[in-house]
């Protein structure tokens, strides 16, 4: 490619153009995009289908089955033919069987089992069912129909799926047969094209919807959302809707925000701060529509599509923060019990702490501290080796006596010391009971840990005024 040059183009221009081309090719062929977003979309749409089948189960024959043949001429107007006629047989039993099968397929889709095969099957079932009643179809049916088609070309199982688990296990056993797959370049291309297609479809929905709205006088004068909130067919919670739509400013802001968020949606995605605004705003709008206008399934269909615009790195960050927490809750119990036994055993073996085991260092002059620790020791199942800093050779831990006087320290070999609230968090995390472990893990979360540090500092500053406290207890922090 580099050999071809256009006359009149400088080398710099050509290099810039060629660089863009390479960038674009890299985006298309080298990796799959929005893998987390599409996995979440899969879960949400799976739940949507199961939810819809669930709430309509009792009236399924009245809505889509033999009880609904009175609207057959309208079904004809829709124009759907095979293969989208799976629900048009006149046998109630066959209809129910297909209905239940569809619920099962939706469950498999949610769990991410063989998604490449299950997705088109779910699409055909979805269209077959919803086209059977065009009178009470809602916009969400159309959204799911269109987006499921694009999703047939994407990899929906990268995360949180049985497919992903199977692939991980297969990779651990190299002897097992490889899965059938397109070459990576092709697979990535189709996946990314599907992402683009979903995005374009969402843009068309929002922008076209806003363009219709800006023609309306009620959207222009900022009162439009008041009206559907007071129509009985949308108004599930009249008290709530009455309160929310009473104030002219609330109604005005909500009306204008819905128009502008939709109209400018594609452009707001271009930079990170505006993207956050757009996604939080539009998802908030849909939560509002779902509850206040009683359109939960339509709302979910849009929220599901919106999540593809959250970047993989954001999801990965959230996942890395929450995964240890979840894994701990699930598997931690046995592991921690074993660790507890080992520690107890080690404690019986020798006296006096050494630098090879964990130790909780506190201020031995502080009556309040001593009382607090004693009280906790009574309540907690496992208790670490504790030692007042006054009786320790702090040099072997690499901390100063000032550090130790300022806050309780959790020392673990090979790890930086944990001070104050973080030391408490570690103490809780070492407990065999789930409730304490969960508390400890939550205390270590960003935000909460900062808050905890502030609380610790505040208590510490006033510890000489607290029960058990003497003036000897006065923290060096109190002077500041």
């Amino acid at each position: 490619m580099m050999g071809v040059r256009f006359p009149g183009l400088s080398d710099e221009t050509w290099l810039a153009v060629d660089g863009k081309r390479k960038e674009l090719e890299g985006w298309l062929f080298d990796a799959k995009h929005a893998t987390y977003g599409l996995s979440l979309l899969r879960v949400l749409y799976g739940l949507l289908v199961m939810g819809l089948l669930g709430v309509n189960f009792a009236e399924r024959q009245y809505i889509w089955g033999v009880g609904s043949r009175w609207l057959q001429p309208l079904v004809g107007e829709g124009g759907f033919t095979r293969p989208f006629t799976l629900f048009s047989e006149n046998s109630p039993a066959l209809f129910t069987a297909t209905y239940l099968l569809m619920g099962f397929v939706a469950l498999l889709f949610t769990l991410g089992w063989r998604t490449r095969l299950v997705t088109p099957v779910l699409l055909v079932l979805w269209v077959s069912l919803t086209q059977q009643n065009p009178l009470v179809t809602d916009a969400g049916d159309v959204v799911v129909r269109l987006i499921l088609l694009y999703l047939c070309f994407a990899d929906l199982s990268a995360h949180w799926s049985l497919d992903a688990r199977r692939r991980t296990r297969a990779a651990a056993q190299p002897g097992r047969a490889r899965r059938i797959a397109l070459p990576p370049g092709w697979e990535n291309l189709f996946h990314n094209a599907a992402v683009i297609a979903v995005a374009c479809q969402v843009f068309i929905i929002y922008v076209s919807s806003a363009m219709f709205k800006i023609q309306g006088s009620l959207w222009e004068n900022g009162t439009a959302i008041y009206y559907p909130m007071h129509m009985h067919s949308y108004d599930a919670f009249p008290m709530l809707n009455g309160m929310l739509s009473n104030h002219v400013s609330t109604v005005f802001v909500a009306t204008y925000a819905s128009v502008f968020l939709q109209l400018f949606f594609p452009f707001l995605l271009l930079t990170r701060p505006t993207r956050i605004l757009a996604l939080v705003g539009i998802m908030g709008m849909h939560v509002g529509i779902g509850i206040l206008m009683a359109l939960p399934f339509f709302s979910l269909s849009m929220i599901g599509a919106d999540v593809i615009f959250v970047r993989d790195r954001t999801f990965a960050r959230v996942e890395s923060k929450t995964k240890p927490l979840l894994r701990g809750v699930r598997k931690g119990r046995n592991r921690d019990k074993n660790a507890y036994r080992e520690r107890e055993f080690a404690k019986e073996q020798g006296d006096g702490p050494d630098a090879h085991e964990s130790v909780l260092i506190y201020d031995g002059d502080c009556g309040f501290c001593q009382r607090t620790l004693d009280a906790m020791k009574k309540r907690l199942a496992t208790w670490p080796r504790t030692a007042p800093y006054q009786r320790l050779n702090l040099d072997q831990y690499g901390v100063s006596s000032q550090d130790a006087a300022r806050a309780m320290l959790w020392m673990e070999p090979g790890r930086p010391p944990l001070a104050g609230a973080a030391a408490f968090a570690q103490l809780f995390r070492d407990q065999p009971q789930l409730r304490w472990r969960t508390l400890g893990r939550m205390m270590a979360l960003p935000g909460i840990s900062h808050f905890g540090a502030i609380v610790y500092r505040t208590v510490s500053r006033h510890r000489h005024q607290l029960p058990g406290g003497t003036s000897a207890c006065k923290s060096p922090l109190a002077a500041r």
């Binding site: 024959q61 009245y62 370049g185 297609a197 023609q215 008041y226 009206y227 599930a236």
Partner: protein, 264 residues
């Protein structure tokens, strides 16, 4: 980082091979074809969902077969203006009294009001609670497109002369679009088929004819929202008596179960 060319060379070679493999001429060609296909698809979609435009009219013969049925969509949601009132659907029936053979007329039943009770406090209501909202829409949209003379024909009794006569009488008026009128009568028959089933469910099999009327009750204007005493007045549009309609495969049992068993 320490650079050891001997050790890195195979890795680089492998990476290069993979990159070249990923970007073969075939896959690049496929990318161009996909780009063209998606461009066409979304250009067509954008035009299809746009407010009416001369360009749309010009391209409709190409667009329609492509977009329908699978890509059929429209996104004028609550727009240009949202509805500003409640839609109701009422029906009554002419019944034969079995003992005397006399005809009697039932009271009006407000089906919509029964459906509302299912929506109240339950956003997860079955979608059949919006049946009459849908029926109102198709009937009202159709009626709006009729000229005055045709509208008055719709109010006449066709329970004996039937649907073909209704279509013939409507078509006899000047300025009638035959396709439109056919669709109008089709929709009226759907509404009558619903009313027939409903009447069977409420009053049993002795239904001779059904009649429908649709009502519109405005929500108070935003400016008048505080006004407690101003009871909004409903506007009704009536349709004349129609013969009962039952389409092939219709199960009266399942319809009646839903009407009697549920909150309807």
């Amino acid at each position: 980082m320490e650079c050891s060319p001997v050790r890195q060379a195979p890795a680089i070679e492998k990476q290069l091979r993979e990159t070249v493999f990923r970007r073969s001429a075939w896959v690049r060609g496929a990318a161009i074809i996909l780009a063209l296909a998606l461009s066409f698809h979304f250009a067509a979609t954008a035009l299809w969902v746009s407010p009416a435009a001369p360009l749309y009219d010009a391209l409709a013969p190409v667009l329609t077969p492509y977009m329908q049925p699978f890509f059929q969509q429209g996104w004028s949601l609550f727009a240009p203006n949202p509805y500003q009132g409640d839609h109701t659907f009422l029906l009554r029936a002419r019944l034969t009294d079995r003992s005397t053979g006399q005809l009697r007329t039932s009271d009006w039943v407000d089906v919509t009001r029964r459906e509302w009770s299912g929506i109240l406090h339950n956003p997860l209501h079955p979608r059949s609670d919006l049946y009459t909202d849908g029926l109102y829409s198709i009937l009202n949209d159709d009626r709006d497109n009729l000229i005055d003379k045709q509208a008055s024909i719709c109010e006449r009794d066709y329970s004996h002369s039937g649907w073909d006569q209704l279509l013939a009488d409507l078509s006899a008026q000047k300025g009638a679009d035959p396709d439109w009128l056919e669709s109008y009568v089709r929709h009226e028959r759907v509404a009558a088929a619903f009313a027939t089933q409903y009447a069977y469910a409420l009053w049993g099999p002795d239904v001779e004819a059904v009649q429908i009327r649709i009502g519109y009750t405005p929500v108070p204007n935003f400016e008048d929202r505080a006004g407690q005493d101003a009871q909004p007045t409903s506007v009704f549009t009536s349709f004349g008596w129609r013969p009962t309609v039952v389409f092939d495969g219709q199960s009266q049992k399942y319809f009646a179960e839903a009407v009697q068993g549920g909150h309807r």
